[in-house]
Symmetry: D2
Subunit: 304 residues, 4 copies
Amino acid sequence: MDDRDLFERITRAVQPALAQGRVARYIPALAAVDPHRFGLAIADTDSRTPRGTGDWQVPFSIQSLSKVFTLALVLAADGEALWSRVGKEPSGAAFNSLAQLEREQGIPRNPFVNAGALVVTDRLLTLTGDARGTLRDFLRAESGNPRIDFDAEVAWSESRHGHRNAALAHLLADHGRLDNPVPDVLDHYFWQCSLAMNCRDLALAAGFLARHGVRADSTRLLTRSEAKRVNAVMLIGGTYDAAGEFAHRVGLPAKSGVGGGIIAVIPGRCTLCTWGPALDDHGNSIAGITALDTLTTVTGWSIF
Amino acid sequence: MDDRDLFERITRAVQPALAQGRVARYIPALAAVDPHRFGLAIADTDSRTPRGTGDWQVPFSIQSLSKVFTLALVLAADGEALWSRVGKEPSGAAFNSLAQLEREQGIPRNPFVNAGALVVTDRLLTLTGDARGTLRDFLRAESGNPRIDFDAEVAWSESRHGHRNAALAHLLADHGRLDNPVPDVLDHYFWQCSLAMNCRDLALAAGFLARHGVRADSTRLLTRSEAKRVNAVMLIGGTYDAAGEFAHRVGLPAKSGVGGGIIAVIPGRCTLCTWGPALDDHGNSIAGITALDTLTTVTGWSIF
Amino acid sequence: MDDRDLFERITRAVQPALAQGRVARYIPALAAVDPHRFGLAIADTDSRTPRGTGDWQVPFSIQSLSKVFTLALVLAADGEALWSRVGKEPSGAAFNSLAQLEREQGIPRNPFVNAGALVVTDRLLTLTGDARGTLRDFLRAESGNPRIDFDAEVAWSESRHGHRNAALAHLLADHGRLDNPVPDVLDHYFWQCSLAMNCRDLALAAGFLARHGVRADSTRLLTRSEAKRVNAVMLIGGTYDAAGEFAHRVGLPAKSGVGGGIIAVIPGRCTLCTWGPALDDHGNSIAGITALDTLTTVTGWSIF
Amino acid sequence: MDDRDLFERITRAVQPALAQGRVARYIPALAAVDPHRFGLAIADTDSRTPRGTGDWQVPFSIQSLSKVFTLALVLAADGEALWSRVGKEPSGAAFNSLAQLEREQGIPRNPFVNAGALVVTDRLLTLTGDARGTLRDFLRAESGNPRIDFDAEVAWSESRHGHRNAALAHLLADHGRLDNPVPDVLDHYFWQCSLAMNCRDLALAAGFLARHGVRADSTRLLTRSEAKRVNAVMLIGGTYDAAGEFAHRVGLPAKSGVGGGIIAVIPGRCTLCTWGPALDDHGNSIAGITALDTLTTVTGWSIF
């Protein structure tokens, strides 16, 4: 099947989904997005030129998609030692659960629940002195787009409505799990989530996960084994408390964000990024799941 | 039995207890207290002159004992409306549990778990503009001791080690349960806990609970029914997660603090205050429980 | 106030309550009861002749009221040793919670949650060889009514719908907390709950709790201290997960049952039994709470 | 690398692991197994002849490995409708958690936690009238070994020590989730777990998962999509509460049992079965994980 046919089938499948769900409303900046937007980009491992359809070049708020990249950056520096700070098990609870973090004595279940991402950001801050800046520069480099930047309004809005993340950060601090002051960690976390990017740039930026750890410039970010492990933890915990449902329908390692983006990886073949702002009850893009479901059904691509 | 005999028996019973347990260590200012201290005061409803023994005139950090008084002050202003902000059920969990607060959608189980006390302090702050000052003035008035004051070192120390209380406060704020900014609420809370008082003054200050709501100057703070209800909630939740054990052994409404103090009430008869800094695993003074157990056994005083 | 005035005031207060709530529906035998029934009996410590009003001589299913009596019977035999098998803390969770029992490693929080009552029945079975028979004979003796008996239909119905109690019993057995086979323990438990009694007989039967442990025939069942402790655990855990609310409104040690009965104790003065089949969300009789609330308000009787 | 080299490397890697961990002790029949046993079998999709090493032809108790096969048999009959009875999310809690089942209103998180397997067995019993017999016949047919049979001693022993499973079954029944009587469901469940098989036969029997749903006789058991979904749920929940750790180290869909067996699938290529009785704290075979870790590292086989 050629690209045009594939994109057409996906676009058709996605139409009914666009009317469903609700755009994230917890901050005004996200609530204002048009729920009928849809974009899809595919970046093959053996090509510099991604393909895409729909609103694939319209920037949106990457939110939790940032967690894959900060994880990779810290893993590149710390290697296996990172896993003493954060687990790699599925959460079995809401992504922002305080009860779970309390039960686990301040060791977050995985790097994609909010508490885990705060621990990763804290570590990146210690390693680099500027977590958010390091992330932005990495994303610019991998996508080749120097205009990628923070959305100050989103960051400020998150910070004003970030009581739950503040609660998580203080609970981590209570357990001695943060090296930096709580306000600094929260700050870098809110800013990293506020980055605005489009599907094209995100598919490119995640390319190292399909290339077994190799960056766009052919240098190595992660060992083959580390890249495999990031994919494993994406499958286990990348789509909030619906990882099983996602693995069931799509069957690919993936990470979603409440801005409506989903990054998915087919190791050795390509990376995908979808965008559709309307979310299901778990916080995953309805259009994005439908698109990836259709794509894997049509192409037969799956890791299982 | 006359006072001398009673005090002697209690003092003898308490001796073995003084060597057990551990002084609260979470802040340096508390960890430095001599664990062999012991004091007991009794303030009869029909007398201005309290009786006491041991270190009953040595000031200590009142900590959670403050929660009884802030509760009474807010109840005096808000009446039954208060109970929509905070429950009156036993907690069945640790006094600083985030899991429980999350499960209860930000409505603390009772005013004596930390989250509940934060809600009460927040409300007192709204009502008076100065929660800690209002509390201090009330305690000075009831005890007739104008020298009662905050211990700045304790307050500062609590604030530096108060990540768990900060987590609770942010979780409350996330559920829209606080009217004032989180830092303000925490501030007043830490300062109110830092007040230094002795057994004598505390027994006097709590006198309104034995006098069915009537203050030292014979004005009414609480209705008879409200005073009964404060006693009920003390019995249900005044001694952390060991309310049942305490009711079992002592059988009196009481409130304990990690500074080693316990206030107990015999409605219509007297208020008691004990001090012994070494705590059991639940955070209650071992010497205090032993003293009150002995006293109720010897005198037959009990509400049951 | 004389009895007639008191009963009239209570009866008037109770009227609106009779239309509210729902009769227990989990077994057909209970669902068939007329929700408009109401009875109240008072048995003074210094009299053999109880007073009462309304349907105070109509038998109903005692259900969990049985738990007070089995507790007293085992406590009389085992003394303090009993408390290694079952706790005495408020539950802070539903009366039939498996999660809580799992968390507590098979030690029920108190003798009034279902798991705790199963442990008590198991022990009574070991001590006597016939738990249900021992209970029936005790209730006959204390009330002076030899016609008190089991309701086979209720017992059989409970047993058929008793999956949750069976789950609790098996979880206890898994933790090695039962001495007798699970089916035997369940059997005696279902039969003990099926006993049919009226307010008059129940107020008489509970008389030892107001007489500090002394039975109807002036022999001693419990020490003064043990009787005090049963009252304490009733206050802490006698009204399901609403012990705080009940202590708040009524302020007396009490035990409720889903058959609509409530036993309450005023130590040294009297025992009370109310009956009203319609229950609130916690499983407590709405009419019963209203009646006891009115009675304590009017008379000023309270332990606080 | 040829088989001999591969097997030698794995066998060497496994040696230190054989001395660690503990054999399952909850029933005598399992506790008696020699912890130094180790076997490995590989069944390629394009061959009838499996390869193996060590104790690969020594039978052991399959225990929870049975859950993959009962799931497949019910899925073949019910299709997607099955997922209204049981979830497909990671558990995030112990495999035999009652708390979780209670929280989820009797819908087990996935078919591999004990509660989920009971629901599947209940359904297989309804569909066939003989769940355990159907399973045995299927395993005989797929492996070509007609001597595969139950171990009555193990089944009897499980049943005698099966209080926790009985608790789970009664809790399911309380929520109306079982169609058959609790004792029948437990019976078939204990017998299915008691089947004794060796690595060779298990690798053959699981072959349909690597052949995208096609049985040994080339008929289709599951659609391609259904087979993919069984693999997905194995990855998410096949190795108790260590699915993330297992995905991290091995990176293959797998199911483990407390008898020490692990079945793993490389879709399109082969199925693997390892056996090593000593278990880690999560209940997974230490030797088995080490062997599969070594094998995937050496061969580069992984789904990520």
